[in-house]
Symmetry: C2
Subunit: 284 residues, 2 copies
């Protein structure tokens, strides 16, 4: 018998959790698309620390991909993921097929307006609608007390928090710090797709962001100059193609002219067809 | 102390229901916009029969109105509604202000595509998005085991059932038969706004629908001829202006050519600025 339960139907998830719920156990939930890395494992460990039962979902959600090719390329290795999730402390993994999550005739969408139009939303129309819809479904299936999301996906985190607030979903969203390689590159399932040359240049994203942080600490408030500084650092990565460099209000995600409130400094950069994102937040 | 609890905050609803939930009581929920009539009371009585705790919401939801004028005209009488709800067996009424349901910056919407484009959706763009969003919120606030909806609002019922299925909401939707005046007119909060002359003509809606039912029983299968028959009956109401007369698939709400499956025969008719709807379903 395996050390971790893995189920693929909604009915099994509910049956597996109802007993725990009725005895008052708290349920922590970590939604993932698999290809687990240290970032995901940190979320699972945090859930293990705080909740009585830890549920991980592994579902490569087709409705949040813009390109069928990107969806097809997404790495999948369930056995490896199960072993890693178990070791990090998960009790139950929900790994459904697409037909279980999107039966024929599914036409309902959850959409957060405003927050989803800039940053990654501009380049990926419909992406956050797919994210919000599948996360709503997963929340309704699992019924967690807390759900854990990484700060690396800063816009996703802001959108999910807004959705939970706006729709009165009864759970707490727990943000967890970005986990990085020793050279600073943010952990991502996409990193394995980088060429060796791109992988060598990719740490410049975080170096550029940390230099912006230092500039703010030294008194810089002008968003245009901060962005220019970041682009200057990224210019050293000759394989990089910048998608965006933005300084936005940390809550509304609207661009700011000056760092006069908590802001998010966020970048998205392509290396070939691999798109990496990273961000830092700045309080004032 | 009043015989019924009436609260206006989400926190009070949850506090009021958590004890019942934790002792295993089932929660029945009847969402309304107030102006309660026998149709609503039948829903409350059905919930009283089937559930341990009965919650009624009274909220004139601004996001489902197309015209500010229609919203302003919607009848409101909380004291009367509370007395009626208590008499029908409600335990708790949730009657929030708009700011409690839609705090500043609320930008999240739940949308059911496809089902919402025809029938009432065609004349009322955004209406069902407003309905789905507020019903999702109310479900998340109340956490019911069952929610009761009238069959008079047939499209709303189909949309809510689809939404619950698509988003894996964990509750049962209980449809309840349309309650009618003795002359056949379907109960509606809008009936009080009819002029005496329009009120005298309004029962023709149901008469037209029942004649269509009889025609199907006698072998008629052609949707065009059924609709023509309904329009013929409604022609006797000289104050009536037809919005739509439709024969649609009972589940997908797509128009049918022939009654070769379960169908919904639905009508919407204006008397002045008062829009009345009614429907019958036909199995085959």
């Amino acid at each position: 018998m395996s050390a971790i339960d893995c189920v693929d139907t909604i009915a099994e998830v509910r049956a597996g959790l109802d007993a725990a719920r009725s005895r008052g156990a708290s349920i922590g939930f970590v939604p993932t698309m698999g290809a687990l890395h240290e970032g995901h494992l940190a979320l699972i460990r945090e859930a293990r620390d705080r909740d009585d039962v830890v549920v991980v979902s592994i579902f490569v959600n087709p409705t949040q991909f813009n390109a069928a090719e990107d969806l097809a390329k997404y790495p999948r290795d369930l056995d490896r993921d199960l072993a890693l999730a178990a070791e990090a402390g998960a009790d139950l993994v929900f790994a459904p097929q697409v037909a279980e999550m999107y039966p024929p005739g599914a036409t309902t969408w959850v959409d957060v307006e405003g927050l989803t139009e800039g940053l990654c939303g501009a380049a990926r129309p419909g992406h956050f609608r797919g994210v919000c819809t599948v996360v709503t479904k997963l929340f309704n299936i699992v019924g967690p007390d807390r759900a854990y999301f990484g700060e690396k996906d800063a816009q996703q985190l802001a959108v999910i928090k807004r959705m939970v607030r706006d729709l009165d979903m009864r759970l707490e969203i727990v943000p967890c710090p970005t986990v990085r390689e020793t050279d600073g590159l943010a952990m991502s399932s996409r990193n394995v797709r980088l060429t060796p040359e791109a992988r060598a240049q990719a740490p410049l994203l975080y170096r550029a962001l940390t230099e912006a942080l230092v500039a703010v600490e030294n008194g810089e408030r002008d968003a245009v100059r901060l962005k220019a500084g970041i682009c200057g650092v990224l210019a050293d990565a000759d394989l990089a193609r910048i998608d965006y460099v933005e300084v936005v209000d940390a809550e509304t995600l609207q661009p700011v002219v000056s760092v006069d409130r908590p802001v998010l400094i966020a970048v998205a950069v392509f290396f070939g067809d691999v798109r990496l994102i990273d961000n830092v937040t700045v309080g004032v």
